[in-house]
């Protein structure tokens, strides 16, 4: 058993865990944050993407113990005061999801993408960057549209925050 201390969605968490516990297991089973999903066993599908210290990572291939001291954001931590994050809102508005299973990973990846590449994203950039996220339902068409719109809306959000 090993002890981990981390911040999850803004709240401090300390736990004793089996050292082989994956971050995704820790989130889902210990913390019951079941929005982060597991869709594969080869680190390909991206259903498990969360942010660790602001960067998107695949929680299925990350040991919880290796995140000691880190700050983790999951899909459950994205909305603020009951208001959807612009990227969540864009997925809803553009019908960027069907069964919803890939969606948390898609949204977390998309937010990271905007943080890295800015608010004006070309279609081909979005498609290229989604290489590590598989969706079986949507044919990606509306996901691409949602991410482009969500990225633009995030620019509005930043300027709104700055104005406050």
């Amino acid at each position: 058993m090993t002890t981990v201390n981390l911040t999850v969605n803004g709240k401090p968490v300390a736990a004793k865990i089996d050292p082989r516990t994956l971050l995704v297991q820790f989130l889902r089973e210990n913390l019951r944050l079941t929005g982060t999903h597991v869709g594969c066993d080869t680190s390909q599908c991206g259903a498990c993407v969360v942010h660790v210290d602001g960067h998107a990572i695949k929680a299925c291939t990350t040991l919880a113990a290796s995140c000691d001291g880190a700050s983790v954001t999951t899909i459950e931590g994205l909305a603020h005061n009951g208001e959807l994050h612009p990227m969540q809102e864009a997925f809803r508005e553009h019908h960027g999801l069907q069964c919803g299973f890939c969606t948390p990973g898609m949204i977390m990846t998309a937010v990271d993408l905007v943080q890295r590449k800015g608010n004006h994203l070309e279609e081909h950039t979005i498609r290229e960057e989604l290489d590590g996220n598989i969706c079986r339902c949507t044919g990606y068409h509306n996901i691409v549209k949602a991410i482009a719109a969500g990225a633009e809306a995030m620019a509005g959000q930043v300027s709104a925050q700055a104005a406050e």
Binding site: R20, R32, G35, C45, I75, A79, Q98
Partner: protein
């Protein structure tokens, strides 16, 4: 939120929970005290089990129980069933071997279930499984569907000599042979419809629970049809009587057919829950999905089309070997027969058709319905034949199709189906315009200047949806009726709960169904809740597959709403002191004809429950009605998809440059959701045509058992699709709906292969047309072009 309308792109209400991570899938369910199951699977394609030594595993840390097929047999738990009886052309019933949930004496494919370990944690269950010692006598395996019937091939089941489950046929052989005899041209093609894995992103999962106090079982399962699961688990497998078994399919992360079936793992979890006295949970790893969830397609076909000198089709003849895998999955026998051959007339007036299908066993995972189920296979045959024939007789492929379109309705085909309505030419004309067919020559020249090969391909598909009139499918061998149920519960305050036997796993029923009810009752959508997927709430239903939930599921809701309206009118008549025949219902208000007297829907609902204004002996209090809707006919969505590709002959990389889809789905309730269904279907079809393929090696090992080896379509593989619709409202159901869930997957593979072969200038390529395959095929093209 306001009152919704039919035809409005209402944003989905279910999305709130999905985008915030609050969806509740089976793996998100944890029962107090639950133990974890891990299945030991066969590493061999075919082997006799001489002995299983469980001793060490049973005593490993954390182990609760280790169970095998002997334990199932001792508890008299029956095998898994196939619910559709097919008769061979000699009249004999199909020959099926037993299908135990855990192997009994023999394993028949890699991934077959040998034993289950139930332990405190999954890690402990896995560790213990490694300690099970199985003494296998490895047997030769029959893997290739084209060769499995040959003399000397390994026998999968003793019950099915030559591995032939059935040799079935449909159509008039003599008339078809006669048509071919007088043909001026015959096109012959050999096709392989590649084997696919459904790969819903949520892997299958199950939690079995047993309450010894009440003797009640509960199964949480990733199912597209929990009611059918309960029926089969009760009546055939013998877990418990239906009143003692509750099946819950909560949020389900995609199905595409693969979650229709009643599988070994789910069966074992619910049975074992009583045996070990603990809830038992199992979640498939992706590799297990590949190994042991039903696969799709896998046909080997020879097809011929006879035409006269004027380019009119005279006849079509097909012989297909359909791989059914090592066991018959729940609906496997219906897919290459009644879901396939009746679609071989396509959109065309074909006087004579004859189809012969051998359903064969192999030592591979069971094969069953995958998005489209039989209809993509039929469309691939028809639309490849159409394109190749047009090329061979020197006609424009669009004009050749136009010449042969069915133009008057109803149209009885020679293969069962009676098309009720359609306008195939309207879709084709629109598609030609949107795809700028006229500009193709220019675009081809532009590509050629860059050293690239451009091609365009058509697919004019038809499908039979809205499955299906119960008596009709019963006469064809179905073990169930294919109606749907609905119950409308109006609460005293005028809010409404709809209980439906349909099940949503991505289709957005919570929105579309609520939209229908809102529009019909004139109440805001948020006053309507859709309840599905729980056999304790919804009494019985047939579930969601075959694009049936609009045409059949919503029709059932309409029927129940009709009854609610009729009853509410009676209540309103008492309250308004008018005669029932003078009560009108519009925009959510009951009014007395010619007066301004009226009551809102909510007020009438309240009066129905208060029951002060009428005599309870004359009119029952309450406002709740149910309906079972049995469709009159199949529905026939149709359309035209046009693919345009650009191939780099140096790398073999095919870029899908343009995709045009014009579909006739009849009336659309929510166009946004319909478009989403089309997008997803097209992507799966392009996946089949260019990327995906489940491959077994000669020994029966699945060499594509992960996302490292099975090429799933990614965002980068597609252009933005150009989508449009035409509409001939379906006359067979009250809403005029045809169904849209499978169209994309049915239409797209032949469009794409037709485009690739157009670019290549020859027909020598099979699915999946991977870069390697296209590169090889393009070398022939390059040589030909160089020689010219």
């Amino acid at each position: 939120m306001s009152v919704a309308q039919i035809g409005q792109s209402v944003r989905r209400t279910e999305d709130q929970r999905f985008v915030t991570g609050k969806g509740r899938y089976v793996d998100d369910i944890g029962r107090p005290g639950q133990a974890h199951a891990f299945f030991l699977r066969s590493p061999h394609a075919h082997a006799r089990i001489r002995r299983i030594d469980l001793h060490e595993a049973q005593h490993a840390p954390g182990v609760v129980a280790v169970l095998t097929g002997d334990d199932l047999a001792a508890d008299k738990i029956g095998g898994l069933i196939c619910g559709w009886m097919i008769h061979s052309k000699d009249g004999s019933p199909m020959k099926a071997g037993p299908h135990p949930a855990l192997a009994q004496g023999k394993v028949r494919y890699v991934g077959d279930h040998v034993a289950v370990v139930i332990a405190e944690t999954l890690a402990e269950a896995k560790d213990a499984a490694e300690k099970i010692v199985v003494d296998y006598e490895v047997l030769p395996a029959a893997v290739d569907p084209a060769k499995t019937q040959a003399k000397g091939a390994a026998q999968v089941h003793d019950e099915a000599p030559n591995n032939t489950v059935f040799n079935w046929h449909l159509g008039d052989k003599a008339a078809t042979d006669a048509a071919f005899a007088k043909a001026s041209h015959v096109t012959t093609i050999d096709l392989v419809n590649n084997r696919l894995v459904a790969n819903a992103m949520e892997p299958r999962a199950a939690v079995g629970d047993y309450d010894s106090g009440t003797d009640n079982f509960t199964l949480y399962t990733t199912s597209q049809n929990p009611h059918v699961a309960r029926l089969v688990l009760s009546a055939f497998i013998g877990i418990a009587p239906e009143n003692k078994l509750r099946v819950i399919a909560p949020d389900v992360g995609g199905g595409f057919g693969s979650k229709i079936f009643i599988y070994a793992e789910e069966t074992v979890c619910v049975w074992a829950a009583k045996k070990v006295g603990r809830p038992v949970k199992w979640v498939a790893e992706r590799t297990e999905e590949f190994l042991a969830s039903a696969h799709g397609r896998d046909h080997v076909t020879k097809a011929e089309l006879a035409t006269d000198a004027a380019g009119k089709i005279l006849g079509l003849r097909v012989h297909t070997k359909a791989n059914l895998g090592a066991y018959l999955s729940t609906f496997s026998s219906s897919v290459p027969t009644y879901l396939y051959a009746p679609l071989l007339s396509g959109q065309y007036d074909i006087p004579a058709i004859y189809a012969e299908v051998d359903g064969v066993y192999t030592n591979t995972a069971p094969v069953d319905a995958y998005r489209g189920a039989g209809r993509p296979e039929a469309t691939f045959v028809v639309e490849r034949l159409m394109e190749v024939t047009a090329r061979q007789i020197g006609m424009d492929p669009a004009a050749f199709r136009q010449r042969n379109f069915v133009r008057s309705f109803p149209h009885q085909t020679p293969v069962i189906m009676c098309y009720d309505i359609g306008d195939y030419n309207a879709s084709l004309k629109k598609a030609l315009e949107l795809a700028d067919y006229k500009g193709l020559g220019r675009r081809k020249r532009e590509s050629a200047r860059k050293g690239l090969l451009r091609g365009l391909g058509f697919s004019a598909y038809i499908e039979a949806c809205g499955i299906a009139p119960s008596a009709a499918v019963g006469s064809l061998g179905a073990g169930v009726g294919l109606w749907e149920s609905a119950e409308v519960r109006v609460n005293p305050v005028g809010t409404v709960e709809i209980l439906t036997g349909s099940h949503a796993h991505g289709q957005g029923h919570e929105t579309t169904f609520a939209q229908l009810v809102s529009a019909r009752l004139g109440i805001p959508m948020e006053q309507v809740s859709i309840i599905h997927g729980d056999t304790d709430k919804v009494q019985m239903g047939m579930g969601t597959y075959g694009s049936r939930s609009g045409a059949v599921g919503m029709s059932a809701i309409v029927k129940a709403l009709d009854k609610v309206e009729a009853k509410a009118k009676k209540v309103a008549a008492y309250c308004l002191e008018a005669s029932e025949s003078d009560i009108e219902f519009k925009d959510g208000r009951f009014t007395v004809k010619g007066t301004d007297k009226g009551l809102s829907f909510g007020e009438v609902a309240l009066q129905a429950y208060v029951a002060h204004k009428f005599d309870g002996q004359e009119l029952e209090p309450g406002l709740k009605e149910g309906a079972f809707y049995d469709p009159k006919n199949f529905t026939f969505p149709s359309g035209v998809h046009i693919a345009e590709v650009e191939i780099d002959p140096e790398t073999g990389v095919t870029r899908v440059d343009r995709w045009t889809a014009v579909d006739d789905f009849g009336v659309l309730i929510n166009p946004l959701i319909v478009e989403g269904q089309v997008h997803g279907g097209i992507a799966q079809g392009i996946g089949q045509a260019m990327m995906e393929g489940a491959v077994y090696d000669q020994s029966g090992q699945l060499v594509t058992a992960s996302y490292m080896d099975y090429r799933m379509p990614r965002a980068e593989d597609f252009p933005l699709y150009q989508i449009a619709t035409t509409s001939t409202p379906c006359p067979s159901n009250p809403l005029g709906i045809k169904g849209c869930g499978e169209a994309g997957a049915i239409a797209s593979p032949p469009a794409l292969i037709n485009a690739i072969t157009d670019a290549l200038g020859h027909e020598d390529i099979a699915m999946p047309a991977t870069p390697q395959a296209v590169w090889k095929a393009a070398q022939k093209t390059v040589h030909k072009l160089a020689a010219e």
